[in-house]
C-alpha cells in the first residue's frame, strides 16, 4: 500500500520535473550494488596476490584510464587533514551515506545511532538526547556537533535543537565522529566527542533527484534536488544544486499507546555552489532556510491553584537560515590555507518563550610542513553570537539580550619520529570567552604502527565545557507548592538560578586504542578511556527568601561536582562474503559521579549493536540492525526517570529496478509495540517509540 502510494506521488513530481530537466546530463549515479558504479573500486577482492598491501598491488595493475578515476581518501574535517581512520590517533568513526541509505534513516540524529558507544535517545518526535561516553541529557552539553563546519551546539542550553536541523539525506556525504576530546582543534565543548555532518559537493550531486516517502510515523515527505553546472568563458567548473524538502512526522505515542500529539512538519530549502577555478582552489557557498511547525507537550509552572502547573500542547514555530562561504587554496599536497565565514540566524520557541539568535563566525587555518618530519596546522577563529530571550513567569534571563564574543587560536604539530612507525601529535587550543575568560586545551597523541594493519594509539587531553547562558543567567520557576497544604495564600516556589560567577567544567582524558585487520575481511577496533571531570556544574540549594507573599526556595548553579568515568568501545567489521557485511559494536561505561545529581546521569552501562548489509540477487538489498541499550537513569522534568533497557530491531528491503530508481521499505523497532528511549525535561508526558514502517522511492535523472 505504501509503495503504491509513494509511487503515485513521485510519478507526479517526476513528470513535472522531467520537463524542466530534459536535455541535462546526470552524473549522480546511485550506488547500486554490483558493477554499475563507474568509479573503479580498488579494494574489491579479486585475483589475490599477497594478503597485505592488496590495495597497492591492485592500484599498480590498473590502467591509466582507471587510475585517473580512482577516488582517494578525502580530507577528514575533524582532523583537518587527509586521515585514514585506521591510522587515526583517536576513537574515530564515519557513518557513510551508504549506511544511512541502507537503513532507511530519515533524520540526522538517528544516523548517530550507528556510532559505537553513542547513546541516542529519542525524547519525542523532534527532540533527541545524544552523547558519547556518558552525561547524556536532553540538552547534552559535552558533545560538539557541526554541520558542514558550522556549529549547531546551542550556547543557550548546551545540546542541539534537532527540530531545526535537517537536510536532504541523499545529499549527505558522511558523518565524521570522534569520541573523546577534540578540543585541541575544535575548542570548548568538544569534551566527550565531536561530530561533523557533511553534505556532498555540488559537483557530486548533479542532475535531478526526487524522493518521496511515507509511513506510519514518517508521514508523506518529499525531497527534490536539482544540480547543474554553470560554464562559460569567464567561469568554469562551477557546480550548483538547489533543493527543497517537505516532511511531516506523525506524533509518537504515550506510555498508554495513545497519540502523543507531537506532530512535526517542516519546509526547508537551500542552495550550494562549489567552484573549482583551478586545480588548487575550491570555493563553496551554501545557504539553507527552514520553517518548522512543532507540536510539543510542555508543563509550565503558574501561580494559580489547584495544580500550579499547566500542561499544554503547543504548536511552536521555529525558523532560521544560514549562509556559509569557504575558500581552500592548496599550495601543495602538504600545505593549504582555508578561510571560512558563516552567518546563522534562528528563532526557536519552547515553554511559552523563545530564543532568537544571530551568529557570525570567521575561521582561518593554515597547514604546512616544517622540514620533513613536522606537519603543522594552526588557525584562528572569531565567533560572535547575540541572542534575545523574551521573559515569562516560568523562564527569565538576565540580561534578556546578550552578546558574546569568542577569540581563539590553535596550533598542532604532527611529528614523524620514525617514518611509517611512530608519530607524536602535540597541540593546544587557546581561547577567550566572555563568561570564563581564558581557556587552554592541550593534547598529546601517540600513534605506533608495530606492523602492517595494526595500530596502537594513546592520548592525554584537556578539554573544557563553557557554561551555557542558561547556567549563567536564567531563572527557572521550577515548581510551586502550598507551604501549608490547602492554603493557596502561602505559596512556596522552587527556583533555579543561573550564576554569572561560575567557571568552566574541566576534563582530563586518558585514552588508549588498538586496531587490527587480521585478514582482508575482518577488522577490530577497541578504544578505552579514563576521564576525570572537575568543577562540574549543578544546582545547589540555598537559604529561602520572600518575594512578595511567596517563599522562594532557591537553587543556584555552582561548580560543585566531580566525576570519573571508565569505559571501552569495541567494534568489528566482517565481510562474510563479497555480498554480505556485518558490523558489530559493544560499549561499556562505568561512571562514578559526586554527588549523585540529576545533571550527571545518562550513563547506560552496556550498549550493543549488530548490523547486517546483504546484497541479494535481483538488485535487492536486505539490511538489518539490532540495538541494545542498557537501563539508564536520566534527568527529567521531575528530577530523574529510569528508562528500562530496550532492544530495537530494524529491517529493510531495498530494490533497484533500474539504475535511476530505488525503492525501499523499512520496519523500525519491529519486535516491540513501543518503548521509551529518553525522558523529557519539559513535559511529564513520557513519549515512547512505536513500531513503525516507512516506504520510500528515490528517482534520479
Amino acid at each position: 500500500m505504501l509503495l503504491i502510494f509513494g509511487v503515485s506521488s513521485v510519478f507526479f513530481f517526476g513528470g513535472d520535473f522531467l520537463i524542466a530537466a530534459s536535455g541535462t546530463n546526470s552524473t549522480d549515479v546511485p550506488r547500486v550494488s554490483g558493477s554499475t558504479n563507474s568509479a573503479p573500486k580498488v579494494g574489491s577482492p579479486g585475483p589475490g596476490k599477497g594478503k597485505t598491501n592488496s590495495t597497492s598491488i591492485r592500484l599498480a595493475e590498473m590502467d591509466i584510464e582507471d587510475l585517473v578515476e580512482v577516488e582517494v581518501v578525502s580530507v577528514n574535517s575533524l582532523f583537518k587533514k587527509q586521515t585514514r581512520l585506521e591510522q587515526a590517533p583517536a576513537a574515530a568513526t564515519i557513518v557513510t551515506a551508504d549506511d544511512i541509505r541502507r537503513l532507511g534513516i530519515t533524520t540526522l540524529p538517528e544516523s548517530l545511532r550507528l556510532v559505537p558507544g553513542m547513546n541516542v535517545g529519542r525524547i519525542d518526535s523532534h527532540e533527541w538526547a545524544i552523547s558519547a561516553r556518558g552525561f547524556n541529557a536532553q540538552f547534552a552539553n559535552k558533545l560538539l556537533i557541526l554541520v558542514d563546519g558550522r556549529t549547531i551546539y546551542g550556547p543557550a542550553y548546551g545540546g542541539v535543537f534537532w527540530g531545526i536541523q535537517d537536510t536532504i539525506l541523499e545529499d549527505l556525504d558522511r558523518v565524521e565522529v570522534i569520541r573523546g576530546p577534540g578540543a585541541t582543534l575544535w575548542g570548548a565543548n568538544a569534551v566527550n566527542g565531536v561530530v561533523n555532518i557533511l553534505t556532498k559537493s555540488a559537483r557530486d550531486t548533479q542532475g535531478l533527484l526526487v524522493s518521496a516517502s511515507g509511513g506510519t510515523e514518517d508521514q508523506p515527505s518529499v525531497s527534490v534536488r536539482y544540480g547543474g553546472a554553470l560554464g562559460g568563458a569567464v567561469v568554469t567548473n562551477l557546480y550548483y544544486r538547489v533543493y527543497g524538502k517537505y516532511f511531516n512526522r506523525d506524533g509518537l505515542v504515550t506510555s498508554s499507546g495513545s497519540d502523543a500529539q507531537d506532530d512535526w512538519h517542516s519546509i526547508q530549502g537551500g542552495v550550494r555552489f562549489d567552484w573549482e577555478p583551478g586545480d588548487l582552489d575550491r570555493v563553496t557557498l551554501q545557504g539553507n532556510y527552514y520553517n518548522d511547525f512543532i507540536n510539543e507537550n510542555e508543563n509550565v509552572v503558574v501561580l494559580t491553584p489547584p495544580n500550579y502547573v499547566t500542561s499544554t500542547n503547543t504548536q511552536n514555530h521555529d525558523y532560521g537560515g544560514n549562509v556559509l562561504a569557504r575558500w581552500t587554496h592548496e599550495f601543495s599536497e602538504l600545505s593549504s590555507l582555508t578561510l571560512q565565514a558563516y552567518f546563522d540566524h534562528f528563532k526557536q520557541e519552547q515553554v511559552g518563550t523563545s530564543e532568537t539568535r544571530d551568529t557570525f563566525d570567521f575561521d582561518a587555518q593554515h597547514r604546512f610542513p616544517l622540514g620533513t618530519r613536522n606537519d603543522i596546522i594552526w588557525g584562528v577563529q572569531y565567533h560572535y553570537s547575540a541572542a534575545e530571550f523574551p521573559p515569562n513567569f516560568f523562564l527569565t534571563w538576565t540580561p534578556p539580550k546578550q552578546t558574546d564574543e569568542l577569540f581563539s587560536a590553535f596550533v598542532q604539530d604532527e611529528i614523524t619520529v620514525v617514518p611509517k612507525r611512530f608519530t607524536v601529535t602535540l597541540g593546544s587550543k587557546f581561547e577567550h570567552n566572555e563568561s570564563t575568560g581564558f581557556e587552554v586545551q592541550p593534547s598529546v597523541r601517540l600513534l605506533w604502527t608495530p606492523a602492517d594493519k595494526q595500530t596502537v594509539w594513546a592520548a592525554v587531553s584537556r578539554a573544557v565545557r563553557t557554561p551555557s547562558r542558561y547556567e549563567t543567567g536564567a531563572r527557572v520557576n521550577y515548581s510551586v507548592f502550598e507551604v501549608t497544604p490547602g492554603d493557596p495564600s502561602n505559596l512556596g516556589l522552587i527556583s533555579l538560578f543561573g550564576n554569572p560567577n561560575i567557571d568552566a567544567e574541566k576534563l582530563i582524558a586518558y585514552e588508549l586504542g588498538y586496531r587490527i585487520e587480521p585478514t582482508k575481511r575482518l577488522s577490530f577496533d577497541i578504544a578505552g578511556f579514563y576521564n576525570q571531570y572537575d568543577d562540574l556544574l549543578r544546582f545547589v540549594p540555598g537559604p529561602s527568601f520572600m518575594q512578595g507573599s511567596v517563599t522562594v526556595f532557591p537553587q543556584t548553579m555552582q561548580n560543585s561536582g566531580s566525576a570519573e568515568t571508565f569505559g571501552a568501545e569495541l567494534s568489528a567489521q566482517w565481510k562474510v562474503t563479497d555480498a554480505w557485511r556485518l558490523v558489530a559494536s559493544y560499549s561499556w561505561l562505568h561512571a562514578e559521579v559526586r554527588p549523585n545529581d540529576p545533571a550527571f546521569q545518562g550513563n547506560p552501562q552496556h550498549q550493543v549493536q549488530l548490523r547486517s548489509y546483504l546484497d541479494l540477487p535481483g538488485n535487492l538489498e536486505l539490511n538489518n540492525a539490532v540495538y541494545y541499550v542498557d537501563r539508564q537513569v536520566a534527568a527529567s522534568g521531575l528530577g530523574t526517570a529510569t528508562i528500562p533497557a530496550y532492544v530495537r530491531v530494524d529491517a529493510g528491503l531495498v530494490w533497484h529496478p533500474s539504475k535511476s530508481v530505488e525503492i525501499g521499505i523499512w520496519g523500525h523497532n519491529l519486535l516491540d509495540d513501543r518503548h521509551p528511549e529518553f525522558p523529557s525535561l519539559k513535559s511529564s508526558v513520557q513519549t515512547e517509540i512505536p513500531r513503525s514502517i516507512v516506504g520510500k522511492i528515490t528517482v534520479r535523472f
Binding site: 503515485s8 590495495t55 587510475l67 518529499v222 511547525f293 599536497e333 546483504l614 514502517i693
Partner: protein, 221 residues
C-alpha cells in the same frame, strides 16, 4: 492526525486519491501498532535472510591515499612512454624511477614493484634520492615531491638535454619545464602534460595517456 493543509495537498490531493489515502495510512498505522503484523513481517524478513543463498558481488569502498595513486602512476608510466634507444640501450635495460622528496610515494612504489614489474622486457627499479646532488641523468623517471618544489627549477635546469621523464606534484611544475604533473582534483589524482618538455627530452607519450590528461600543453609532433 494532523490536519495540515500541505500534507493533504501533497500526499492525497495530488496523488488523486483524495481522503482515501489518508484513511489508508490510518488503517496501516493501526495494524502495525497492534503488534501482530510487525512480528510477522520481522519473521518473514529474517526467513529471507536465512534462505538467501547465491549473492552477487559487492564493491566495497576502500579508498586509497593519494600517495598510493601517485605511486601507481609512476609504476604505470613506462607503459605509455617511449624512451630513445640511447636511454634504454639493451632489451633488458632497467627503467630506473628516482623518487625525491616524498617518502610515502617511495615506500608505496617499493611495495608495488616488490613482486617484480617488467615493461617490454625492461624491469622497473627504484632509486631513492635523499640529496639533490644524487640526481643524475641515469634515471628514466624522476619524481619530485612537493616538499622539494623549491628545488624544481634548479633540478630541471641540470637535467636539460637528458632523456628523463620528470614528474611533479606542484602547481607550477609544467611552467618550470616538467613533463607530467600529478594534481589532486576533488578526490581524484589527475594528469597534466607538457609536450614541449617531453619533446626536449626525446620522449614519446602515448595518446592513451594524453586522452586522459586534463591539460596538455604544447604541440604534439
Amino acid at each position: 492526525m494532523s490536519q495540515n493543509f500541505i500534507q493533504q495537498h501533497v500526499a492525497c490531493g495530488r496523488s488523486g486519491r483524495g481522503m482515501d489515502c489518508l484513511w489508508m495510512s490510518r488503517f496501516l498505522s493501526r495494524v502495525i501498532r497492534s503488534g501482530t503484523a510487525g512480528r510477522l513481517a520481522a519473521l518473514l524478513i529474517f526467513a529471507v535472510v536465512l534462505l538467501a543463498g547465491k549473492v552477487p558481488a559487492l564493491a566495497q569502498d576502500e579508498a586509497p591515499m593519494d600517495y598510493q595513486v601517485k605511486a601507481a602512476f609512476l609504476v604505470n608510466f613506462p607503459k605509455y612512454v617511449d624512451w630513445p634507444a640511447t636511454a634504454l640501450p639493451a632489451n633488458n635495460s632497467p627503467i630506473t624511477v628516482a623518487i625525491f622528496g616524498d617518502d610515502n610515494v617511495a615506500n608505496e612504489f617499493e611495495v608495488m614493484i616488490s613482486e617484480g614489474k617488467v615493461v617490454d622486457g625492461h624491469p622497473i627499479v627504484l632509486k631513492r634520492i635523499t640529496k639533490e646532488e644524487e640526481i643524475g641523468k641515469d634515471c628514466q623517471i624522476l619524481f619530485i615531491g612537493a616538499s622539494e618544489q623549491h628545488r624544481t627549477s634548479a633540478i630541471l635546469e641540470r637535467l636539460k638535454g637528458s632523456e628523463t621523464l620528470t614528474v611533479g606534484e606542484s602547481p607550477d611544475f609544467l611552467d618550470k619545464g616538467g613533463v607530467i604533473n600529478l594534481v589532486r582534483q576533488g578526490r581524484k589524482v589527475r594528469l597534466q602534460v607538457n609536450l614541449n618538455a617531453a619533446k626536449e627530452a626525446h620522449l614519446r607519450i602515448s595518446s592513451r595517456l594524453l586522452v586522459v590528461a586534463d591539460v596538455v600543453k604544447g604541440a604534439s609532433n
